[in-house]
Symmetry: C2
Subunit: 339 residues, 2 copies
DNA sequence: CCTTAGCATGGTAACGATATCATCGTATTA
DNA sequence: TAATACGATGATATCGTTACCATGCTAAGG
């Protein structure tokens, strides 16, 4: 059996209270006693049970992170940033994937609540139903939560300004002379990137062709982008540019276009979103909208940590915060026009 | 304050023992009592405290996963597979990244032990020191662990057969006529991929040029591959092919080569490792060695779950298992010769 | 009608820590 | 020298569950 604080106390010939004192290093303990206890701890290979500690401390020092999936560079990078920041503050991270399924999402949040996480980073990306079970859970149990999805009403929120980002991207295409831009979006609506596109059309007083607005049926990945572009090409609509929901989708489109004999950017211009690492490798290099992942992660962590440092009473009245990060259009070669 | 089982008992006018019974659904409870209790649970929004439950059950139903980082498609994909399988079996996953640092690695494992995870998936990738603190921790506390690193002696182990994979890849290059193959490895030794390369040289009775064996100084990423290839090119060694530690590194090399005016595959042939999604996008498409991630993940989960189902006594004598998965050479365009 | 079984439930000791209050010396002060 | 303060430690309630044993009730069997 694993040794407990009682075993250590017996071994060192003191009371468990004193052992607890050296474990936490707060009360004063005589040096000789302290070293006796430390020796006993070493000898028995004692590791305090964090769960037992949590029960009485009423905080677990765990964070739950909910994301669609991790095999998506954006989420993975975000995780790496968050992991480092929370680790530095003594938190361990539970992670649960929604697999883009509302039931799973709610189940993950419920699990986190049962495990009494101190806070939640909510990075799901699903259309919000009504009633929204996940949101209800989060509110009922008053778990401090920071969301990456602005549609989660009432939660703190840190986002990239996708409306702006998409508008910039499409403006760029329009300025290069494109008038028919196909959009391959993700599976969810409403979608600020799509709105940004429509916004740019509007600002430039251009007609929209609804047949060019597409959405992938599942996760916005390389495969789904590829499949959707194949379908679009099959329908014979004409277009001279493509705006992809993210870089993976954009790459999928590129692959489909090339298989259909189109050249990039000569025949079709492409712009993506996220600026993943591979965006600089692919030739022609991808023009895309960069999200400041590190800054977003830091804002997320800072906000949640600040909320956690409030007393439980104060947390309820902690002001709702909404931070939107500016994105940046990174112009490379996939739209041509720059040589 | 969050409602406890006692509040529910009071609300329903029964004892906490009975509430516990309906919570666990094992003992028989009269239907009318049961519904009274369920009503109270709903009314109070009661969620049982999993940690309190763990204390007495002596299992937390959590798994700790330790990985170098997640912004690496291989680890991210593996995580997604594992997450699904463990979720289906009622486990929640803690994840900790080592940041390729032995101290952090040991600290993560220690944290997992303090949190009393039921099992650990050990996916660190670091040179093993002697003495090996992480291994000692794992052994002392007898946490059921499955490793992805065969150098963790005494642990169950599931790996891709990299020696074979690398041999296949290099054999392919040699068969295409290449005699000077640069290797850009990861930061750690020994490295089975490097050994596979040497093995192929040996089998084909070719001389080796040590100057062509390189290793990235940090994580095997796009950036480090790019930097290392830049350095190699600066040294003026001649070579006609490159074998990259993984696809990201290979892409980094490609980028550096192209900047130096080399064409792929005409001037330099490239082969990567892992077969990430982008391997099919890049033109020329990357020839690479595919690891069966899904199968590896399933084997990992199955093995750990089986170990966990043993009684604590039986776990000690549970036979050490070592599973190596065959890899598959995926021939595309980056080596030419098929074209 | 008494015994006995079995069902439904209650009471309470764990689990492994921390927190609080009590206690006992010993040194300091008036 | 008695009062006092403080430093070091011990005893024990507590956190929110589950496990285990006890108990009361009803119905069946003799």
């Amino acid at each position: 059996m694993k040794p407990t604080i009682r075993d250590v106390a017996a071994e060192a010939g003191v009371s468990i209270a004193t052992v607890s004192r050296v474990l936490n290093g707060k009360d004063r303990v005589k040096d000789s006693t302290k070293s006796k206890i430390e020796e006993a701890i070493r000898k028995l290979n004692f590791q305090p049970d964090q769960n037992a500690r949590s029960m009485i401390k009423k905080e677990t020092r765990t964070i739950g992170m909910v994301v669609p999936e991790l095999s998506n560079e954006y989420w993975a990078q975000l995780f790496d940033v968050l992991q480092r920041l929370f680790w530095e503050n003594g938190y361990t991270i539970f992670i649960g994937t929604t697999e883009r399924n509302l039931d799973k999402e709610a189940a993950v949040v419920k699990t986190f609540i049962e495990r009494r996480v101190d806070g939640i980073i909510f990075g799901s990306a699903l259309p919000r139903p009504n009633p929204d079970r996940t949101l209800e859970l989060l509110e009922r149990f008053a778990v401090p939560t920071v969301s990456l999805d602005p549609r989660m009403k009432g939660l703190h929120c840190v986002v990239g300004d996708h409306l702006q980002g998409a508008t910039d991207a499409v403006d760029h295409l329009i300025r290069l002379g494109h008038r028919s831009i196909a959009y391959v979006g993700g599976p969810i609506v409403p979608d600020n990137r799509e709105l940004g596109l429509r916004n740019a059309y509007l600002l430039n007083d251009l007609p929209v062709n609804e047949a060019l607005f597409r959405r992938t049926s599942d996760s916005p990945t390389f495969q789904s982008g590829y499949a959707e572009m194949k379908r679009l090409l099959g329908e014979g609509e004409s277009f001279t540019a493509v705006f992809g929901f993210n870089d993976a989708v954009a790459f999928g489109c590129i692959r489909a276009l090339e298989e259909a004999g189109k050249r990039i950017p000569e025949d079709v211009a492409i712009v993506g979103y996220d600026d993943i690492q591979m965006a600089t490798v692919f030739k022609p290099r991808l023009t895309t909208v960069r999200q400041p992942v590190r800054e977003i992660g830091e804002a997320l962590a800072t906000l949640l940590l600040r909320a956690l440092s409030e007393t439980p009473d104060a947390q309820r009245s902690f002001p709702r915060t909404h931070i939107a990060f500016k994105t940046k259009l990174v112009v490379r070669d996939s739209c041509g026009g720059r040589g």
